[in-house]
């Protein structure tokens, strides 16, 4: 499904944030990336849909190398990759419905989008997804009137509107309280399972990763230092990923 080969990224020459990442993400299940702040988790996720330009390597998605695409080809590839953001990244002054329909902008011509002429099927789907994420009746609320948890529900619904073949989630729960975090992860995991969408998510919270992930990637210093099922994450491994040990007890 997604195959990263020799992926490297340096924002400043000589200081790589990612060095030689090689990993394949299967066509289903939740893959969680854990690691301390600044180890390149976010950069890795953002390289996949080219919000960040990789310095080297290949990003094979559905057989095409994302790293080499540009212009229209890149936009068409992005349509198949949904993304959920840490700070939700909703368009604050648009309504919930408009934010959801943003997920269809890759398929609707700008002229139609400008006049809010979306296909009826897209609008029907948006209402279904609003029900699914528990925001029925919120369609005409402006995004800036919602709470954090509600915003992230809209963020997830927007990503799912794309009918994505891969869902990226960049710290989707880091701005939320623990209870809401679990609810959001449950929602995302549930949608991923029922729609058969593979998820690549990065997170700080080890417990949350253990609870929801089928597979965990541990990153330290721009490299993957752990790759395995959550059950294999023991204290020794966590020490290797995060460094130090005082925090474990």
């Amino acid at each position: 499904m997604l195959d990263l080969r020799h992926l490297s990224k340096s924002y400043v020459a000589g200081k790589p944030v990612l060095s030689d990442i090689n990993v394949a993400i299967p066509a289903q299940g939740i893959t969680a990336i854990i690691g301390a702040s600044g180890t390149g988790k976010s950069t890795l996720i953002r390289c996949v849909n080219r919000l960040v330009e990789p310095s080297q390597g290949e990003i094979l998605f559905d057989g095409a190398d994302m790293a080499r695409l540009s212009g229209k080809a890149l936009r068409h590839a992005r349509r198949h990759i949904g993304m959920v953001f840490q700070e939700y990244n909703l368009v604050e002054r648009l309504t919930v419905m408009e934010n959801l329909l943003c997920g269809r902008l890759g398929y609707v011509s700008p002229w139609r989008a400008w006049r809010r002429k979306f296909p009826p099927a897209d609008i029907a789907r948006a209402y279904e997804l609003l029900d699914l994420v528990g925001l029925a009746g919120f369609a005409h609320q402006r995004a800036d009137a919602l709470s954090g948890g509600q915003r992230q529900r809209v963020g997830i619904a927007r990503a799912v509107m794309q009918k994505p073949r891969l869902l990226l989630a960049d710290e989707p729960t880091s701005s939320l309280d623990p209870k809401t975090s679990v609810e959001i992860m449950e929602l995302m995991a549930g949608i991923a399972r029922t729609h058969g969408i593979p998820v690549l998510v990065n997170m700080h919270d080890v417990e949350l990763a253990k609870r929801f992930a089928d597979r965990v990637l541990g990153m330290a210093g721009g490299r993957i230092v752990f790759d395995g099922p959550p059950a294999d994450l023991d204290d020794a491994m966590l020490k290797k990923i995060y460094g130090g040990e005082d925090w474990l007890h």
Binding site: I81, N89, E92, R93, L105
Partner: protein, 286 residues
């Protein structure tokens, strides 16, 4: 008694240059007054003259109202046409000048156009257009269009450069084409500010449209200037009162537009004062 704490560095950074600048400004003000012969005797002599002038202003003389109304109507037309044309042109130019969305080879020429449009005062631009296209309203319309491009273009560019990249990033990540990114990621973030700029510009154009007539570019200004030169001060007063009334009506109109677009007020809210209006205002962030 406790021992005195160890002396650390000063808690505030004290800089010398703001004080030097303040002293320099004071010295320059004194020098400039001396240069321009601004003195109390001069002000006193001026006040006597002013008293005579003001006494001749009243009562205002509205007898030549047909000329007055014709001039005001022409000013209003100049202001509305120049605002429509200028704001319409400022939108794409301001967008092109935004460095966070456009490559340098587009943004620099657009910035040059905006700076050029801003660099000359509307009166000077009006004189140029009077020479170019002849006396009349067309010169005024063109002059104020240029002024609108400069003002709206600059503010619109700055508003776009201050938007949140996160919202734009999210739209780009969906594979949306660039015009759709603008429509959904950029414009919603700047729309209310743009309405604010546009109404302010309409207000400003209305004021300037009463003035470009002085240099022959149409509107009430020509009538006003002629009245001054004939010492028809009572007629001057009538014109000034009419201009003030026109500007105030324009101000009310601009406030209503802002309330509708920015504060989501309904038409009925506009005629309701006090609590209801305040409620509408507080339900918004800006």
């Amino acid at each position: 008694m406790s021992t005195a704490p160890a002396i650390r560095e000063d808690a505030f950074r004290r800089r010398a240059w703001p004080r030097v600048a303040a002293v320099a400004l004071f010295v320059y003000v004194v020098y400039a007054c001396a240069q321009l012969d601004v003195s109390w005797e001069r002000v006193h002599a001026g006040l006597d003259n002013a008293a005579r002038f003001f006494s001749r202003l009243f009562p205002p003389n509205f007898t030549r109202s047909d000329l007055l109304i014709k001039g005001l109507t022409e000013s209003l037309e100049i202001a509305v046409l120049a605002s429509t044309l200028g704001i319409g042109l400022a939108l794409p130019i301001g967008l092109a000048a935004a460095r966070n969305l456009m490559p340098a080879w587009i943004s620099w020429p657009a910035r040059f156009v905006i700076v050029a449009a801003r660099s000359l005062h509307p009166v000077i631009v009006a004189i140029i257009f009077v020479k170019a296209v002849g006396f009349g309203a067309l010169a005024g319309i063109l002059a104020l269009t240029v002024a609108s491009i400069g003002f709206i273009g600059k503010l619109f560019t700055e508003a776009i450069e201050e938007i949140s990249d996160k919202q734009v990033e999210a739209i780009r990540a969906t594979g949306a084409p660039f015009p759709s990114v603008l429509a959904y990621g950029v414009l919603p973030q700047v729309f209310s500010r743009f309405i604010g700029f546009a109404t302010y510009q309409l207000d400003s154009n209305l004021r300037n449209s009463t003035m470009v007539g002085i240099v022959g570019a149409g509107g009430i200004g020509g009538t006003l200037f002629a009245a001054f030169q004939r010492f028809d001060y009572d007629y001057v007063c009538a014109i000034l009162i009419s201009i003030i009334a026109l500007i105030m009506i324009g101000e009310l109109f601009a406030t209503a537009i802002r309330a509708i677009f920015i504060e989501n007020a309904t038409f009925a809210d506009l005629f309701r004062r006090g609590e209801a209006m305040r409620h509408v205002r507080h339900s918004e962030d800006d």
